[in-house]
Amino acid sequence: MKNEWPLWEIFIRGQHGLSHRHVGSLHAPDAEMAVKNARDVYTRRNEGVSIWVVEAKHIAASAPSEKGPLFEPSESKIYRHPTFYDIPDEVGHM
């Protein structure tokens, strides 16, 4: 058996209450070590207050070939954006 440590994807929540964000990956034998390594590699300069680690093989992703069918439909739906609507000046800020 090849003794290569599995690959983990690392997600960090920054100081300001935003969601965890993918920051990179690393190798570790298990989840506990992945968290420890992530702390050493990805939070050395106050980048975060919380760490998630997910073994890379557990991530399911959309296929690049599906880009069109998945994401193009929203391009034409400009009425989903607030800028689509004219609000009269007299009404003030909305």
Partner: protein, 330 residues
Amino acid sequence: MYAQMIKTASNGIKPREEMSEEERAFQDKIDNDIKIEPRDWMPEDYRRTLIRQIGQHAHSEVVGQLPEGNWITRAPTLERKAILLAKVQDEAGHGLYLYSAAETLGVSRDELIELLHEGKMKYSSIFNYPTLNWADIGAVGWLVDGAAIVNQVALQRTSYGPYSRAMIRICKEESFHARQGYDAIRAMAFGTPEQKRQAQDALNRLWFPALMMFGPSDAESTHSEQSMAWKIKVKSNDELRQQFVDQTIPQIEYLKLDLPDPNIKWNEERGHYDFSEPDWPEFFNVIKGNGPCNVDRMKDRVAAWDDGEWVRDGLLAHARKKAARKVAAE
């Protein structure tokens, strides 16, 4: 640079008419500055060239820890020691970011490390020069990381998404490296006459090896053209070298050190400094394995890998046992 003399895995640029539909769509994306992502279609040569380049870059970050690690225990103050330790730790991180980027191309980190240890991959020529004294540590941060920054800032715009993101991350950390080096050499340049002499000596010895980091002139490189078309390479070696020289001369002048090359002169017409070419035969000799420290560097890397094997295996065996126990309990 950290990746020097990367052979492009193809012969010259394919004319557009000869490209397949996929190749054309791929080149269009690159021309429009759309990043290529791991699961996107890409030509096999693009993938192979990137693995070589990113792999060599990663190896350079890791091997680059050795000349600086050499002085951690002998740093002149506790503060300098803490700074150097943090800097060297960053370089380990840079290696990690880059190995991770390479792994998205279908090669594993352990495979890359094996290739390095078998002598089938290289790292930057600069790390085959010794760090003889503390002034060298200042000069390395200032000049070597300074040169690396010039290259890496350009590479932030590289076409491969994971490589570009790694470069952005690395650049954020690099300016600390260059500044702490300049700070260390400045303390010596304005110190006792003996300290100043050592600062000058470090500059004189490391100047040309730093210029070599950018690789030989592009005029001599047949591989640059395709790498530029693919935006694996963003600026030419000569352009980057000139940029480094132009930014570094005023920094030398501030230190009141002598210029390390009598031919350095401002060229009004070009709007750049003129300077002497490094000794290219020396460069090729170092690349071939005959630099002052090649043998030591590889010996140290291989020893670190071999000596760490029982730890890697032990932790993995423990993790597997724990996982199996958990499954059995469920």
